[in-house]
Subunit: 174 residues, 4 copies
């Protein structure tokens, strides 16, 4: 293990390959990087007036380089897809297909994403999950046709994390 | 240790005494049981049409019997009061007095309350913390005169937990 | 909604039916209530000298009445079983089948169980997960034949939660 | 806001200044970077045979550049010091001075540190907190003379986070 590799925090070949897969999985379920970047922009613009959409896009990409985020996406979207195909036994099948309000494992996975940038993302996550703006609302409306129990929470969490990351970086520069 | 005491989940003399203290601390900082119960009612009424204010009040009281909740309240409100008196060194003093947006320990304590009723309270917590309805808004407006860095998050968390508790109980009866 | 139902904390018909299912799922994967109760006894006996195995068994049962615990068990054990059958796509399939040390979603689900009795269960969870005593060790040894990526963490979490619950109740009586 | 600053993940002047303060606070309470690095080495060496102490030291330093970690340290150590001076009212004063086993806010703060590198640090945190090796044991023995209720959990969390960070980076290079 070389010192230089250990010291820098940037992406490595392994995490970049998994990042591409993560983006593919999200797109297959109907969510693009641009969808998420525009939500980051809409919630963070009032706090960071000089913010650009390009910076929001980069922030979403940095979040998707984190292994914990990738694992949450792979696991949650697999659960959505397998529930859609009717592969689960009861009572789990009905809970996932109906997005049961007492089934909180989707929020549990989302929280593991939000926590990576500290607790300041928590408020934005809850707000996005309740108000369902932009692509989160579109995902939610599709719930009759496809199972999106995990997808909407994962997207809200990625957006909240990317916004928290921008808030941290802006302050640290001051 | 008697079997009966271990089996039942209700309050014990120790937790009831601490509950009274918790209520006193919250009132001293400007928040009553009724303030919190009315917020529970306003966010939960649409899901539970037969809900009464009295049930909301009881749910808030049950939440305040939990030791983890009591400890979070004692710790957070002590931090608010001591910051108000200028007892902390820098950089903590400025962070607490200015409710620094990158200081997330208030959300961390709040999360420990929300988690007791499972992750379904997370969305309501984030929403309350962002929208600041009722007493949460009033607390926030007082931030010039008194330090309420922890108080607003603790109140949002207690309300979200009491609402989650009602949702769990309603479903379990069906 | 009747006041009496709202006020008491005990189990309801819905949660009892799901509890029986939870116990069946755990047994199908090789873990009995007695296995878990004996681990609770072994870690809590030194702090509570009058503790009996029967009390430990009851504490495990109370934990399994919580909806959040039931949902974590249904979800985690489904993931284990479906990974065993090779139903997941890569890269998730290899991560689950090999219990990849960077795959942390099993710990994320376990944490949602531990948190229900507050953070005091965290230390016991980590210790059990590292030392792997009793049935947790047996589960771990079977990892060649069956996929137990979630099972061992779920069992450690249920045991840690049942121990934390006993610690809370003992203190509250004093 | 420049693109370059937003894109890179490294430390900024603001976080570096706070990092120095964080190290000073830990040293004032009796814990050095070297103490923590040697614990990282002892728990991670068997998984990473080429690991050096210098890499462990760098990993601890990276962890201490995170704002969430700095805030947890400032808050927890202030609580320890003020409890030592008898500044808190009851019941909080006795809980902090006696490191009450039902007071879990120290674990709550520690968890906010561990979570930054994902849930894989959870097991190491619990293990360190239970076994109390190296400097954690020394802190614990001093509990008669000074209040270290938060210090031992914070140190265990920083060590667990630094070990998780090394595990993530090693895998990503493969």
């Amino acid at each position: 293990m070389g010192m230089i590799n250990v010291a820098k925090e940037g992406p490595t070949p392994g995490s970049l390959r998994l990042k591409e897969l993560t983006i593919e999985w999200l797109e297959r379920r109907g969510v693009t990087l641009e969808d998420m970047a525009s939500l980051v922009y809409s919630i963070q613009k009032k706090y960071l007036p000089a913010l650009t959409l390009k910076e929001c896009l980069e922030s979403v990409e940095r979040v998707l380089e984190k292994r914990e985020v990738q694992n949450a996406v792979f696991t949650g979207l697999s659960l959505d897809e397998m529930a859609e195909k009717g592969l689960f036994a009861e009572p789990l099948s009905s809970m996932l297909r109906g997005d049961d309000s007492l089934y909180g494992i989707d929020e549990v996975l989302a929280l593991s994403i939000v926590n990576i940038y500290g607790s300041i993302g928590l408020t934005n996550f809850g707000y996005l999950d309740k108000i369902k703006p932009g692509v989160i609302g579109k995902i939610n409306e599709k719930k009759g046709q496809q199972v999106n129990t995990f997808l909407d929470d994962l997207v809200a969490a990625i957006v909240a994390a990317a916004a928290a990351r921008l808030a941290h970086r802006e302050r640290d520069k001051e």
